[in-house]
Amino acid sequence: MKVAVPVDDKNMETSVCMSFGRAPYFMIYDTDTKEHSFLDNSAADSPGGAGIKAAQTIVDHRVDVLLTPRCGENAAGVIKAAGIDLYKTEPQSAIDNINALVIGKLSSLNDIHPGFHSRKGR
């Protein structure tokens, strides 16, 4: 399966980026072929809707699972509608998180925060 993680640098030892929408890069890792690549996140500099655009990028690359420390509700909406699974990263490197996912040690991301421009209810 294809796994995406927002990361700070373009190397295998990179740490996970604290933000999803404004991460500088995404690491895409294929657990079957063990191949990996890095994508530049064009949403990082957006004035608004960064989470949405970043989510669109993830969807367009046919990712199966997204690992992230946090996610806004707009982006989460896009990710879930596309049928992508969302897991919460642990404070360790990106590759360690992917390994943890593979052995079933990561939990689902349930704590979705409101977007900067969103409102709930009313």
Binding site: P47, F116, H117, R119, K120, R122
Partner: protein, 294 residues
Amino acid sequence: MKQLLILSGKGGTGKTTVAGAFISLAGARAYADCDVDAPNLHLIMKRWSEPERKDYFGLPKAEIDHKRCTRCDLCRQNCRFNAISLNDHYQVDLFACEGCGVCEVICPEEAITLQPAVAGELMLYREEDSVFSTAQLRMGSGTTGLLVTEVKKQLCEAVGEAELAVIDGSPGIGCPVIASLNGADLVLIVTEPSVSGISDMERIIQTAEIFNMQITVCINKYDTNLENTALIETYCAEKNLPFSGKIPFDPEAVRAINSGKTIIDLDCPSGTAVKEVYHRTMELLFNERCSIST
């Protein structure tokens, strides 16, 4: 690191005065001024070094190349923001332009391009033991919310080990306030006992609740209207909102501020009262940790 955000709804209630006092009392190593429109915190927090400065780019702005323009008027007709007008040439009002790109895409001659535009400046003050993040929006600019986000991001990236970040917010309930709410662990609302103050307090509370924020309230200049002060206390009790205390109206506070000091730096009634507000607020902010682990 816990983030305390200080808001008010109404302007002039004393957010920055209270923020300055809290920063001094806590010996806070991280603080930020998110009132990017009219930042004031730097006026009372003594800084010895020059800040690191960075241009802030908001939305790009349209630029029309007169040499290619054939005056078809399509751009002006389709601009929803009335940003294009015809004088000697077709011109873009840089303040009205929202960088949407409709004119760029609709121009049959490709005479319009969107250019990056500086909308403000970010400043980061670093001392040995603390970081202070602030910014100044260029007047008439938009994307205030994004600049607020940048101020907070700058703070979080620069701070090493810190237990507490104190964030001085802006008045109102719109985009800069909403942007400052994100990531805050507790919102302290500084209100004043006037009908306007109460009305504005209710609206900022509503706004903070929409975003599921934890809230506490304190009343500044409480003795200017005891009846309204009682109303506010009752309102908080009825809504089950924590109440952090009251600060009296104090001419000494103005003198402190005017000499670039916090109200803690002088021996004055408001300084004494704010200490109680500080303790109650900190209890609320850090107790949360305890309640989760049990």
